[in-house]
Symmetry: C2
């Protein structure tokens, strides 16, 4: 077969890049678990009617058909999930009798969309979600907590700093109602286009489609332009002179989110009143996240509060959730060489083989090292030591272990740090590498000052 070529929209990593991805996924998981979120994994497929409930993304779903099905019209009725929220809602309903509420879960899985690939948009991608879901009612404090958990998770990654932009649907809806909008969701949808079409076009839309007066449209634009790193946005909103009970509740809630962030994670969040989040089901706080220097990439982590994540007719399950776009982040930092792994393999020590007759001796050394958690492999061949060292060097394996010469009773094992060339006698039952070398490490690279960095 000829050499295959990559499939557009389905990113895959080389081993050293995969080590970065594993580091990122392990780190996110560790943060989520520190905060008591339980892991859930759902099947890759959902019934199509579930996937199409929201109506908006039907075009992007991959439908499955068994090849053996006699007729190609004979779809299985199943599609690949395009996010982790729809499957989670189904999982909650299906297992409600076995879950404890409020239920804190995280879910790190691939999702698929058949859309046109471009930077930041893939046909297969990894999402890392946290949600808290409760029965009937959900305390507001989770809307404060979740972005702090996500901020902590992102802050531990070897990526540039992030800013979480926060808004509140009640605040926006109250304001739009207060200026006379009959259908606040129409206003929201227009405001959502600010980044794409600019304020003038949005003002036109607000008058033409949402039926606002010119003054009301201007007030909405003024409202949407408010963005503060603290609770001073509240005074700016009040200065616009609009009043509405929902607006007051939304202001209060957003102040609580921003104040908590200022106290617990200074610099992490801003109140940004143009944040709309396209999806209709959000009802409270909404979140979007920008990566410093890569704002054009779009949000790398988004979510919000929804009063009805799921409902079986008798019970409604409100929730709040945020999703981290792991593939979007990784493609960016790997594609721009902003991060690197210290080596391409887990191996810390290559145990050399003097000659094939003594391979067993090397295997025994390796076993002794592994018993103490030191990853190692035995050289593939008893080639000249120079060649065995090159085997290690090409993979970034830091140490090569040389067994004692069996023909010389006075000789001992020795271990060589092939980066420095230092070599010393060693005993496999007690030797340990420096902690920093035990596992591959991942770090942000220093920007090369001679090259312009376009993150």
């Amino acid at each position: 077969m000829a050499r295959p070529t990559p499939l557009s929209g389905f990113p895959e990593w080389l081993p050293a890049e995969r080590i970065v991805e594993q580091h990122v996924l392990d780190s996110i998981r560790a943060t989520f678990e520190l905060h008591g979120f339980a892991s859930v994994e759902t099947r890759a497929v959902e019934p199509l009617d579930q996937l199409l409930r929201k109506g908006e993304i039907d075009k992007e779903v991959y439908v499955l058909r068994r090849l053996q099905a006699a007729d190609s019209d004979n779809d299985s009725g199943l599609g690949l999930h395009f996010d982790l929220t729809v499957p989670f809602a189904r999982y909650v309903l299906e297992n409600a009798g076995h879950l404890e509420f409020p239920f804190r879960r995280y879910q790190i899985q691939k999702a698929w969309r058949g859309e046109r690939p471009q930077e930041g948009r893939y046909r297969e991608f990894v999402q890392a979600d946290i949600d808290v879901v409760d029965r009937d009612t959900l305390p507001f404090h989770y809307e404060v907590e979740l972005p702090l958990v996500v901020g902590e998770a992102l802050g531990r990654l070897p990526i540039p700093p992030v800013t979480i932009h926060v808004n509140n649907r009640r605040l926006a809806e109250g304001f739009f109602r207060g200026v006379g909008a009959d259908d606040p969701s129409l206003v929201l949808r227009s405001v959502d286009k600010l980044d794409k079409i600019g304020p003038e076009k949005v003002a036109e839309l607000l008058q033409a489609e949402a039926g606002l007066s010119e003054a009301a449209a201007k007030a909405c634009l003024d409202f949407a332009s408010i963005c503060t790193p603290d609770s001073s946005f509240a005074d700016q909103v009040r200065a616009l002179g609009v009043s509405d009970p929902l607006l007051d509740q939304g202001l209060d809630e957003l102040v609580r989110v921003v104040d908590a962030a200022a106290e617990q994670a200074p610099g992490l969040m801003v109140a940004d009143l143009k944040i709309a989040r396209g999806l209709d089901y959000y009802t409270g706080t909404v979140y979007e996240t920008l990566l410093e220097g890569a704002e054009g990439l779009g949000s790398i982590s988004s979510g919000g509060r929804y009063d009805a994540l799921a409902s079986d007719g008798r019970t409604t399950y409100p929730g709040v959730g945020i999703s981290i776009g792991v593939t979007r982040i990784l493609s960016r930092v790997l594609g721009h060489n902003l991060v690197e792994a210290s080596r391409a393999v887990p191996t810390c020590v290559l145990v050399a083989v003097a000659d094939e007759a003594h391979r067993r001796r090397s295997i025994s050394i390796a076993r002794s090292l592994r018993a103490r958690g030191i990853a190692c492999e035995v050289s593939p061949s008893a080639a000249k030591y120079g060649k065995q060292i090159r085997y290690a060097d090409r993979r970034g394996i830091p140490f090569v272990w040389f067994p004692a010469d069996p023909a010389d009773p006075a000789s001992t094992d020795s271990v060589k740090d092939i980066r420095s060339g230092d070599q010393a006698a060693a005993d496999a039952s007690v030797w340990s590498p420096p902690a920093v070398d035990l596992r591959p490490s991942v770090r942000r690279t220093e920007p090369d000052p001679t090259k312009e960095q376009h993150l």
Copy 2:
């Protein structure tokens, strides 16, 4: 929406079961990495022509179609992979210029098959594979090494003991040739049916389809009945009086595998000359693995040596690989309650909230505990302490932390082990739980002697 029901063949786990699955996957990964295998993850889809190359499993492939495609005949040309070997072979060819050979990789991912679900067979399942692949030639010693790595990985899991059954294609082919078979693969295919149809029917097949004499058919059955925990199988084979150069090579190789196992992992392997492995591409050692007490489940881990994992016309990539059927194992041990997690959440400590005005104090305690790696969550509400304790109890959270009474300057924080009821004063900046309670643990359950166990 009505309460959804599970999809047959797509197993999903409740949170406590998922903790068992995570433990199993983490443990397998740790063993693979200790042995220097690098992680690779491939996309879920492959071009259909790749998936159908082997010809045998075309009926089971799920084909993808974008819903927006105008015509339902309009398949994407992509299918979900049904194993991890086909995608890995493609990955090796695609990235050969960026990989170092011999390349040791592990891959833990889901795969999909549209076949009829039954115990041990699923439509979505997790496999954990290791392979070593080289360019042009691959040293034999990897055929000795890989089953030992897999045996070590399985031996660390909270499951019953396993036995790896080993055979060698050269040995079998040489023997079958030596008794006069023109096409040893026909003999192999008949012998592969021993477990299903029994020796008499196989003897008939060997004469009718492989064209063997009655005596030759009997010799093949005698050969296939040999099964020894050590290298004594070699004498039994020689006693059958058949000679062939390939047989000699195969005998020598299989002795090396079994001898190494007897030395390094006594009791792990048996030479079992009826093991055939259906797939045509194996050319050397082949492996199947049975779980004690669950032999009827079939092999939980299989693989072998192949001289041509992949080829681009100029370069051929030989390899040896073994795949662990994680879902098959998990479904069995979870379905039969042979294993359990100590709790259903990662949380070690629930920090109680005395009243909502002091939630911030509880958040600060939780942060202090997390800074030292102790997973905790803050109580969802400032309910009576009894109710907060029940919140912890229902999830198996072992400790509840009570903040000092802000109205009483003499009071201090205290922590309660809700299993024993022991409560003591504690300081969140230094307190640690017993190591065994820090994370959820997973253990084999004691069989209940009053109940008959049908594993």
